[in-house]
């Protein structure tokens, strides 16, 4: 006969107000196998845990049931308390009578009845629990960082400085991300390149960092401490070992008019190019879509159409025959820092987004987005830092900024706030005024959200010192009349319609999740929200972890973030990763599947449904070495414990420890009183 102790928590008033805890304890105390039942104000408190320890000792308990909050909250607490008295922690389970009962019901009798049911199920389950041993697995002390923007750079540097090796994968030819495109940054007006490029160089030179630019994560397998990652190294058409970054090849390239991604389409680049002068690595890449050589090849022309760069290269580094290659890296932790993309103002919008026909769908050349403005204001930009509008190269004397384009507008498909726009628009008005002293900047805003150290002061400075005119309201239409842009607007403070003239308009467009993030998330078994932003394990208490152990989040891949937030988050992931690497062995819950070889018929349905490849083939031989049969065996290190194999197994020979058929059926049987 079992000797189970049941403990009912009042959680102060949280449970006790709705559930009659004394009645629950009394009723459960009459169940066969229950030898101890009591209720207490706070089971999780020190005296509460002492009650459990005392009962284990005095009544020789072989199972403990605590009816309290969600097991996600305190299962570990109570299991530890049991373990400290020598009771196997997996003989302790919780019934959730707070989140699943007292907090969601008001009727005292019916809530009490439900609490008794929930606790009874668990008592019946515990009677069938087996003592289990924690699984210990080794840790590979190397980390993978996906994304080489400021978040990825910071995470990589912090982990590498902590003494662990880092593999940094960046899909673009250079690291630097969006921050490298910015002119100056709020709220200090530091030059973005000046603070970023030294860090990029540090990454390149760090003995613990292996940088793989122009590469993407292809496959991820394994589990915390033991991931195996296949990385696609895209064909750069340049031998990176031979190239010394002299910069001769772009000068001779015959294709010169490709819109530069780095200059947000405002500048031009060649087909063989280095994205920007401070790129790391400073190795060019051939854009095969636009290169004359590859275009001719694609058309089936046998004769080599162009080989100018190859002829020019004194080191023979250009390799037209290069193909994508693959490398596999073993790592123990993965940091995702894939960043964001900007909402496009073009007509073509992804499903669910409406676009802005009223702003001309991006067809008016002097209506640009925030990133394009950054390039216009940047000393390394297409105008050399002169404020000149794209259509005719004239200096705009009247400039209008529209906030919340795409953001905070359900009708347009995005209801969230992009967080950074209020601040960068304030910055833009200042940068504009510093370059065009007699110019007037006008901002149309919905609300000004300037929470952050020095942020509100920064916005005030834009208004009070640099003369930005802030109008609360929306612009309903932008159209051209000759050289002038006209904006129909509505001032919601005065309640007056307005007609504003401008020479240039800047749209502060929403931050969106990176394209393709869903595919990456699926490779990592990480979840994402309806907008494609990756989900943290807990919004408050576990903000940089995902629900997949060993996978962490940094920067704007999780939600719109500015630079200080992204950097803070990146350092937090590094702390998590280094904490993980500080252990010799990792401990894992023993919720894994086990096969009974005597029952297994070797059909391997389990192998087909296992998402982790945890099922292996095991040969059973007699003493003479003759093969009797091949059965399934679960690799406990790889198994994650979903139990899909058990529900699939026709011979019922595989059992998920902790959730065996016997245990579940005991819970179901307890339905009938």
């Amino acid at each position: 006969m079992a000797r189970i102790g049941v403990f009912i928590c009042h959680c102060g008033e949280n449970i006790g107000r709705t559930v009659n805890c004394a009645e629950v304890a009394e009723t459960l105390g009459t169940l066969p196998g229950v030898v101890h039942a009591q209720d207490y104000k706070y089971m999780c408190s020190d005296p509460g845990q002492a009650l459990i320890r005392q009962a284990i000792n005095e009544k020789q308990l072989d199972g403990v049931m605590v009816a309290a909050c969600s097991p996600h909250m305190h299962e570990k607490t109570f299991r530890r308390a049991c373990a400290s008295e020598g009771l196997n922690p997996f003989l302790c389970e919780m019934a959730n009578i707070r989140e699943h009962c007292s907090w969601i019901h008001e009727h005292r009798e019916r809530a009490t009845e439900k609490a008794i049911d929930l606790a009874r199920f668990i008592v019946e389950k515990i009677k069938r629990n087996q003592p289990l041993e924690t699984i210990r697995i080794p840790v590979t002390r190397r980390a993978l960082v996906i994304g080489g923007g400021i978040a990825g750079i910071q995470a990589a540097l912090d982990i590498a400085d902590g003494g662990a090796e880092v593999v940094l994968v960046e899909k673009e030819p250079s690291i630097g991300g969006h921050m490298s495109q910015l002119s100056e940054t709020f709220p200090t007006l530091d030059c973005s390149q000046c603070i970023l490029t030294p860090r990029m160089v540090e990454v390149y030179q760090h003995p613990n960092i292996k940088l793989m630019s122009y590469s993407e994560v292809e496959e991820v397998s394994g589990y915390i401490g033991n991931f195996s990652v296949k990385i696609r190294r895209k064909a750069r058409s340049i031998n990176e070992d031979l190239c010394n970054g002299c910069g001769a090849c772009p000068k001779v390239c015959i294709v010169k008019k490709i819109p530069s991604e780095f200059d947000a389409g405002l500048g031009k680049r060649t087909a063989i190019y280095v994205p920007f002068p401070q790129a790391v690595p400073n190795t060019p890449v051939i854009d095969r879509v636009n290169c004359a050589h590859f275009k001719a090849k694609a058309k089936g022309i046998k004769k080599e159409a162009c080989g100018k760069c190859k002829e020019e290269c004194s080191r023979g580094a250009i390799d037209f025959e290069q193909v994508d290659s693959f490398v596999t890296e073993k790592v123990g932790a993965i940091v995702v820092a894939t960043g964001f993309q900007l909402y496009t103002i073009d007509k073509d919008q992804p499903e669910g987004l409406a676009g802005y026909g009223e702003y001309g769908y991006g067809t008016i050349p002097d209506v640009i987005d925030g990133l394009q403005f950054e390039r216009l204001a940047s000393a390394s930009g297409p105008t050399g830092g002169k404020m000149l509008r794209p259509s005719d190269g004239k200096e705009p004397k009247r400039i209008v900024f529209l906030q919340c384009v795409g953001s905070r507008d359900r009708a347009k498909g995005i209801e969230y706030c992009s967080k950074i726009c209020c601040m960068y628009v304030a910055k833009h008005t200042m940068l504009y005024r510093h370059k065009v002293h007699d110019g007037q900047a006008t901002v149309f805003y919905m609300d000004i959200r300037a929470g952050g150290k020095g942020y509100e002061e920064f916005v005030r400075r834009a208004i009070e010192e640099d003369g930005a005119r802030y109008v609360r309201g929306r612009v309903s239409r932008i159209y051209r009349e000759g050289e002038v842009l006209k904006l129909q607007a509505f001032d919601t403070l005065s309640g007056e319609p307005m007609l504003v003239e401008a020479d240039m308009v800047v749209l502060a467009t929403a931050m969106r999740a990176q394209p393709g993030i869903e595919q990456l998330a699926q490779k990592l078994s990480a979840s994402y929200d309806g907008h494609g932003f990756l989900n943290e394990a807990h919004p408050k208490l576990r903000p940089v972890e995902t629900n997949t152990a060993g996978v962490y989040l940094a920067g704007a891949c999780q939600s719109p973030r500015d630079i200080p937030d992204s950097v803070a988050m990146a350092s937090a992931t590094a702390a998590k990763v280094l904490g993980l690497f500080s252990k010799e062995m990792l401990e894992r819950e023993p919720t894994v599947a086990r096969v009974d070889p005597a029952l297994c018929t070797g059909c391997f349905h389990c192998e087909r449904v296992c998402a982790y490849g945890a099922v292996e083939h095991k040969e059973i031989r007699d003493r003479k070495g003759n093969l009797i049969k091949v059965v399934a065996e679960v690799n406990a290190g790889v198994c994650q414990g979903c139990g899909t194999c058990q529900a699939t197994c026709p011979s019922k020979s595989v059992e998920l420890q902790g959730f065996t058929d016997e245990q579940i059926f005991a819970e179901i049987n307890a339905l009938a009183v």
């Binding site: 996600h72 907090w103 008001e106 414990g641 139990g643 899909t644 998920l656 339905l671």
Partner: protein
């Protein structure tokens, strides 16, 4: 052992919910922390994943006195274990037809996806299932088969 007072009480459906630990259980936790009031008729049985749910669990629940069953897990593409919910979805697509053949009305079975952030949706699933089962009345066929007519 129904006492006279109980037999006079209005019919209250008994519903068993088989939910996954990561999405729906956590979503139900969120409903709790958000204090969303809902029908007290549902009893949750926690499993690691909907992939672990054997259709026999559902039949057993009906035999042991459930009037309705909810199965809920992570949304497609959102499974903590990558694909367990897909296996569950296939299994229940087949099982649903079998259940009707076995005399279990479709409205007694609720399959849904509730994520960890959908406390409100969990409340709606609970209330919806309770109402549908309430309209159908008690499910006694299997209990009679098992010799425990209620």
């Amino acid at each position: 052992m129904a006492t006279p007072a109980e037999s006079l009480a209005p019919y209250e459906p008994r519903i068993t919910a088989f939910v996954c630990n990561w999405c729906t259980y956590t979503g139900a936790d969120l409903a709790g922390t958000s204090r969303l009031q809902m029908a007290p008729n549902v009893r949750i049985i926690r499993l690691p994943c909907t992939g672990r749910i054997d259709p026999l669990f559902i039949l057993k629940a009906f035999e042991r006195g459930a009037d309705g069953v909810i199965v809920s897990g992570c949304h497609p593409a959102d499974c903590h274990y990558t694909a367990g919910n897909y296996h569950a979805r296939r299994r229940f697509a087949v099982f649903k037809e079998l259940a009707e053949f076995l005399g279990i009305e479709a409205d007694r079975l609720t399959f849904s996806w509730v994520s960890a952030s959908e406390g409100g949706k969990w409340r709606d699933v609970v209330n919806g299932a309770t109402e549908r089962v309430r309209r159908l009345g008690p499910f006694t066929a299997y209990r009679e088969l098992a010799g425990r007519a209620s």
